[in-house]
Symmetry: C2
Subunit: 147 residues, 2 copies
């Protein structure tokens, strides 16, 4: 099924799998505008040794480059995990139209601090492909624990 | 006077002046480790059309590149303006040892949301060269209003 939230979340999940394959915490994100991908990213904090290299940040920068605009007012960001405070605040600055995330982040999700971090105009959808998004993370950390 | 907070804040202010000269909201930041500058940055959100290009984010990435580590546990970040939520959360991820800022940001400072955004081990110093840091911003916005 084209252009559904599941369709796009599957693409974000594909990005997350790239992170997994590179031994990074598996989180992936894409930015959609008019049914087109205009930005994507996966977590690269280890490879780049840079805490700012979260999937969402990379996808935001890519989408802004594509549009030539720092505002993403007609865009939706799909991300496999609830954004942290850094990424949620970046999405606020970008005035993203819509945020869709898969799994809740009970350790570092922005909503643990405040539900008012996002821009008041940003529409929020939660839990799309939650199990698939969450399982990839669970598997990653299980493997890490078991060496 | 070498190696005082004022000494380093003056360097951050110099970065802020670069932003001012490029018609960007004038905020500058530097990262110090063992009395050496290992990262610096000034706000480039307009030039790069990228909301993530705050002074602090650029300075964090530069310092991490220099150290080859995503953690900045022995470092101090000096910034002319109170960090926003995005930058404060990035500083938490980086486990910065110490944050020193000049002027309060009564519109978008992280402390408006929560004082618990920073890492619990991050030492905080506020108000170094507050007037100089704030005046540059006031002047910038006054000019903007007057066209």
């Amino acid at each position: 099924m084209l252009f559904t939230d599941e369709y796009y979340m599957k693409m974000a999940l594909k990005e997350a799998v790239y992170a997994y394959e590179e031994d990074e915490v598996p989180v992936g994100a894409i930015v959609i505008c008019n049914n087109r991908i205009i930005g994507k990213g996966y977590n690269q904090t280890e490879r780049l040794k840079d805490v700012t290299a979260h999937a969402e940040m990379i996808a935001i920068t890519a989408a802004s480059n594509y549009l030539g605009s720092k505002f993403l007012e007609e865009c939706t960001l799909y991300v496999t995990l609830e954004p942290c405070l850094m990424c949620a605040a970046a999405l606020k600055w970008a005035r993203i139209s819509r945020l869709v995330y898969g799994a809740r982040d009970l350790k570092a999700g922005y909503s643990l601090t405040s539900n008012k971090v996002l821009h008041p105009k940003t529409e929020l959808t939660i839990g799309i492909m939650e199990n698939e998004c969450g399982s990839l993370l669970t598997e990653f950390f299980r493997e890490k624990r078991n060496g």
